[in-house]
C-alpha cells in the first residue's frame, strides 16, 4: 500500500494501532474510542498522535476533540460513501484543523482530486493500485467552479 502526501508518494512513518494493542514507539493513529479513553496517556507519549474516524462521524461532534491532533484519518469504507468529504471540509473550514488529513480505506485514484479539494492532503491508496498513475489525478483539472478547502473562492471571484 502506498501513501501519498502533498501529491507525492512518501515513506509513511505513521502506524495504525488497533484497539487493545499496545501503542508502539513513533507516530500512531488510534481509534476515536481509544482517544477518548486514553487520550491523556497517548498525548504524553514521545511520538505524534493521530485519530481514525469512521465515515459516520459527525464533524460538529468530534471537531473540538480532534482539531489539535497531528493527524486525522477519515475512513472510506466504500468509495461511494461520500460522507468523508463533508467531514473533511468541516474540519478544515470550521474547526481550522491544520494537521494531516488522511483518507484511508477504499481510496482510489479517481476520488483523489475531490478529496484534495475537500482538504485532504494524504491518502493511503488501496492495496494493489498503481500509485504513480494515481498521482496524475491531481493534475486532471486546472479549473474548478466552486470554492473548496483548497481555495475557498468560487470561480466567479477568480474569473
Amino acid at each position: 500500500m502506498a501513501t501519498i502526501r502533498d501529491g507525492k508518494i512518501v515513506e509513511d512513518t505513521w502506524q495504525h494501532v488497533a484497539d487493545g494493542e499496545a501503542a508502539p514507539e513513533g507516530d500512531v493513529i488510534v481509534t476515536l474510542a481509544r482517544l477518548r479513553q486514553e487520550g491523556e496517556a497517548l498525548r504524553a507519549r514521545a511520538g505524534k498522535l493521530g485519530v481514525r474516524v469512521g465515515s459516520d462521524a459527525i464533524a460538529d461532534e468530534i471537531g473540538d476533540e480532534v482539531k489539535d491532533l497531528a493527524l486525522v484519518a477519515i475512513e472510506f469504507p466504500k468509495y461511494v460513501d461520500g460522507r468523508g468529504y463533508t467531514i473533511a471540509r468541516k474540519l478544515r473550514d470550521r474547526f481550522k484543523f491544520e494537521g494531516e488529513l488522511r483518507a484511508v480505506g477504499n481510496v482510489l485514484r479517481d476520488q483523489l482530486f475531490y478529496m484534495h479539494r475537500c482538504g485532504f492532503d494524504a491518502y493511503e491508496l488501496q492495496e494493489g493500485k498503481d500509485a504513480e498513475g494515481a498521482l496524475e489525478a491531481f493534475q486532471e483539472f486546472s479549473v474548478t467552479y466552486q470554492g473548496g478547502s483548497d481555495d475557498p473562492r468560487p470561480l466567479y471571484r477568480r474569473r
Binding site: V80, R117, C118, T144, Y145, Q146, P152, P154
Partner: protein
C-alpha cells in the same frame, strides 16, 4: 444562451481527457466493472439491456442549432441514427460503444457540451421551464439561476458521492409551474417578498420513485445572493444524514420526512449560518454576467398578434389550425409565438428524433427562431421565438419531416420511460404501450374533444415516466412473469401538485389501451362543460365513476 469562456471550455476538455483515460484503464483491464461503474455513471454512461447508453447534458434544455447538428452527427456516426429526449431535458443515445463514448465527449466539448453528472449519485442536470424567457407569466428569466446552479454543481467535490441522485429545478412563474418544482429534491421558485424584492422560495424533499412526496418549503424567502450557500447547506445536511443503508430510502425526501420539515430546516439553517456570508455570496456582477447571456433576442417591432393567433387557430386548413391551437402559445413580445414541436407520433417511440430530423430542426431554428431550441421535460422540442407571420410556413416544413403533429398537451402527448425494451430495471415495456395509445387516439377531433390531459407511463416503480403525477398514470408491473399495467388517476405535477391513485387491479397489455379510452369516455360524460378539463372533473367527481366504468359494480 450561455457561451463558454476559456474556463468553461477548459473544464469540458479536461473532463473529456480524463474520461478517455478511465475508458482506457477499463479496456486494458486495469480496472474492472465494479470500479468503472461509478466513474461511467458520473458521466451519464449506463449499461442497459442491449448496449451502453450515453446521456448528454442539455442544461435546462436549451440548445443551439450548432449543438443540435452535432447531436445529429453523433447519432449518425456513433449510434444508430437517432437520439431520445429525456424528462431531464437531455438527449440520450442507446447504442454507443465504450471507445465511441470517449470520442463523443470530444465532439461534445467542441460545441460547449458534455455528459457530466447526467447519472450517478450526484447533482444532476438542473431543469427549468421550457418557456423561460419568453413567457408572459414569469417574474424574470430563471435560466441565469439555473446556469449559476449548473456551474456550482459541476464537479462539486463534496457532493459527488451522495446517498442517491439529486435533482434541482428552477421556475419563475407564480401561477403555472412547468418545471415540476414540487417533485424535485430541491425546487427553487423565484418569488417576490412583501417588500417587492426578488428572491427564492426553496423547497426540498419532493420526488417520485417508489415513495412519492410533494416537496415542502424549507425557506419562504431567500435573498438572491445566498442561493448557492443555501443549496450547499441543504446538500451538506443530506450528505451527512441521508440514509445509505438502503438505496430505496436514500433520497432526500426520506430524510426530510423522517426528520420532519421543521427539524430538517433547522439543521439547514444552522449549517447556513456558518457559511452564508463567506465566499459563496453571489455578487451582483456575477448574476449580471450570466444574465447577459440570456438577453432578449433582437426582436422586430411588430404589432400585437394575439387576435391573429386566435384567428389562425380557426384556420380553414384544419391541420394548421389545430396545430396553432394546441402547439402554439403567445409570446411576451408582440408578433411572436412559441411553438411546441411534438415528438409524439404513432410510428416512433415517444421522444425519438432521427439524425435527419435533428438536422432539419436545427435548420428551422436558424431560419425561424434565432438559432435556438429547447428540449421539454415532456420529451418534445420548442422553438420559442417564431414570428406569427411565419407560423404557416414553419408548420408546412415540420409536417414534411414528420414533426407537425398537433397533439401538444393532449392525450397523445405523453411521457414514457424507455421501459423493458431498453432498461435494466424495468418490469414491463412502456414505449409500445405509449405508441398504441397514440395510435388509438389518432383522431384530432376526438383528441380535441377530450382536451388538455397528460398521460405518463413508467415501466417500473422507479417512476422515470412520472406516472404518479400524470392526470392519467400507467405503471408497468411484472405479474408472474407477464407484463401488467396499473392505471392511476388524478396526478398533477404543477402548482396544484397531487399524486395519482391506483384505480384497481392491473390490466394486461391488450387491455390497458382500452382502459384509458374507457376513462376518457367516462370523463366526456361526467364533465360539466368542455371547459372542465379531465383533472378538474376528476377532482370534482372523484374516483368512483371511473372505477365503475372500468370494473363495473364490484
Amino acid at each position: 444562451m450561455y457561451q463558454y469562456d476559456q474556463y468553461d471550455q477548459r473544464i469540458v476538455e479536461e473532463r473529456s481527457r480524463q474520461f478517455r483515460g478511465q475508458v482506457q484503464r477499463r479496456l486494458s483491464g486495469e480496472i474492472l466493472e465494479d470500479e468503472f461503474k461509478p466513474l461511467r455513471l458520473q458521466n451519464g454512461l449506463y449499461m442497459q439491456l442491449h448496449a451502453y447508453m450515453l446521456r448528454v447534458a442539455v442544461p435546462y434544455g436549451l440548445l443551439s442549432s450548432t449543438q443540435m447538428r452535432k447531436l445529429a452527427h453523433i447519432a449518425r456516426t456513433y449510434d444508430k441514427g437517432y437520439g431520445h429526449l429525456t424528462t431531464r431535458q437531455n438527449m440520450q443515445f442507446n447504442w454507443p460503444t465504450l471507445e465511441g463514448v470517449a470520442n463523443i465527449l470530444d465532439e461534445l466539448a467542441s460545441v460547449q457540451m458534455h455528459a457530466v453528472q447526467t447519472s450517478g449519485n450526484c447533482i444532476r442536470n438542473t431543469t427549468s421551464d421550457q418557456f423561460a424567457g419568453v413567457t408572459r407569466d414569469e417574474l424574470e428569466d430563471p435560466r441565469p439561476y439555473a446556469e449559476i446552479i449548473r456551474q456550482w454543481s459541476t464537479f462539486h467535490p463534496e457532493f459527488a458521492f451522495l446517498p442517491r441522485k439529486f435533482k434541482i429545478a428552477v421556475n419563475a412563474t407564480p401561477d403555472d409551474d412547468r418545471a415540476a418544482v414540487y417533485f424535485h429534491d430541491i425546487g427553487v421558485k423565484l418569488v417576490e417578498n412583501g417588500a417587492g424584492e426578488r428572491g427564492f422560495e426553496v423547497l426540498a424533499g419532493g420526488g417520485l420513485g417508489r415513495t412519492p412526496h410533494i416537496g415542502q418549503t424549507v425557506r419562504k424567502f431567500l435573498p438572491k445572493e445566498h442561493l448557492l450557500s443555501y443549496l450547499e447547506s441543504i446538500l451538506r445536511v443530506y450528505n451527512q444524514f441521508g440514509r445509505r443503508d438502503n438505496k430505496f430510502k436514500a433520497r432526500i425526501k426520506i430524510l426530510v420526512n423522517a426528520l420532519g420539515i421543521e427539524e430538517f430546516s433547522r439543521r439547514v439553517e444552522e449549517e447556513w449560518e456558518q457559511i452564508k456570508d463567506g465566499d459563496m455570496l453571489l455578487p451582483e456582477e456575477e448574476i449580471e454576467r450570466v444574465k447577459k447571456h440570456f438577453a432578449p433576442h433582437a426582436y422586430e417591432t411588430l404589432p400585437d398578434s394575439d387576435s391573429e393567433l386566435a384567428a389562425l387557430a380557426l384556420d380553414k386548413d384544419r391541420a394548421f389550425g389545430n396545430w396553432v391551437k394546441n402547439n402554439v402559445r403567445p409570446h411576451k413580445v408582440p408578433g411572436y409565438a412559441s411553438v411546441t414541436i411534438s415528438v409524439k407520433d404513432k410510428e416512433i417511440p415517444p421522444g425519438d428524433l432521427s439524425d435527419y430530423q435533428m438536422d432539419q430542426v436545427a435548420d428551422l431554428a436558424d431560419r425561424y427562431s434565432f438559432g435556438e431550441m429547447r428540449i421539454t421535460h415532456t420529451q418534445n422540442l420548442v422553438l420559442a421565438d417564431v414570428k406569427v407571420s411565419q407560423l404557416r410556413e414553419l408548420h408546412e416544413k415540420l409536417v414534411a419531416v414528420n414533426l407537425g403533429n398537433a397533439n401538444a398537451n393532449h392525450i397523445a402527448d405523453m411521457i414514457t420511460c424507455p421501459g423493458l425494451d431498453f432498461c435494466n430495471l424495468a418490469n414491463a415495456r412502456s414505449i409500445p404501450i405509449g405508441m398504441r395509445i397514440i395510435d388509438r387516439f389518432d383522431d384530432i377531433d376526438y383528441m380535441n374533444d377530450i382536451g388538455d390531459v397528460n398521460l405518463k407511463i413508467s415501466g417500473c416503480i422507479n417512476a422515470c415516466g412520472h406516472h404518479h403525477v400524470g392526470n392519467i398514470g400507467i405503471l408497468g408491473i411484472d405479474k408472474q412473469g407477464v407484463e401488467h399495467y396499473q392505471l392511476m388517476l388524478g396526478g398533477s405535477a404543477g402548482n396544484d401538485a397531487s399524486l395519482g391513485q391506483i384505480v384497481g387491479p392491473a390490466f394486461t397489455q391488450d387491455e390497458i389501451v382500452g382502459a384509458v379510452d374507457t376513462v376518457l369516455q367516462r370523463y366526456l360524460k361526467e364533465r360539466e362543460s368542455a371547459d372542465e378539463t379531465f383533472i378538474h372533473c376528476y377532482r370534482r367527481v372523484g374516483m368512483a365513476p371511473f372505477k365503475e366504468a372500468l370494473y363495473g359494480d364490484n
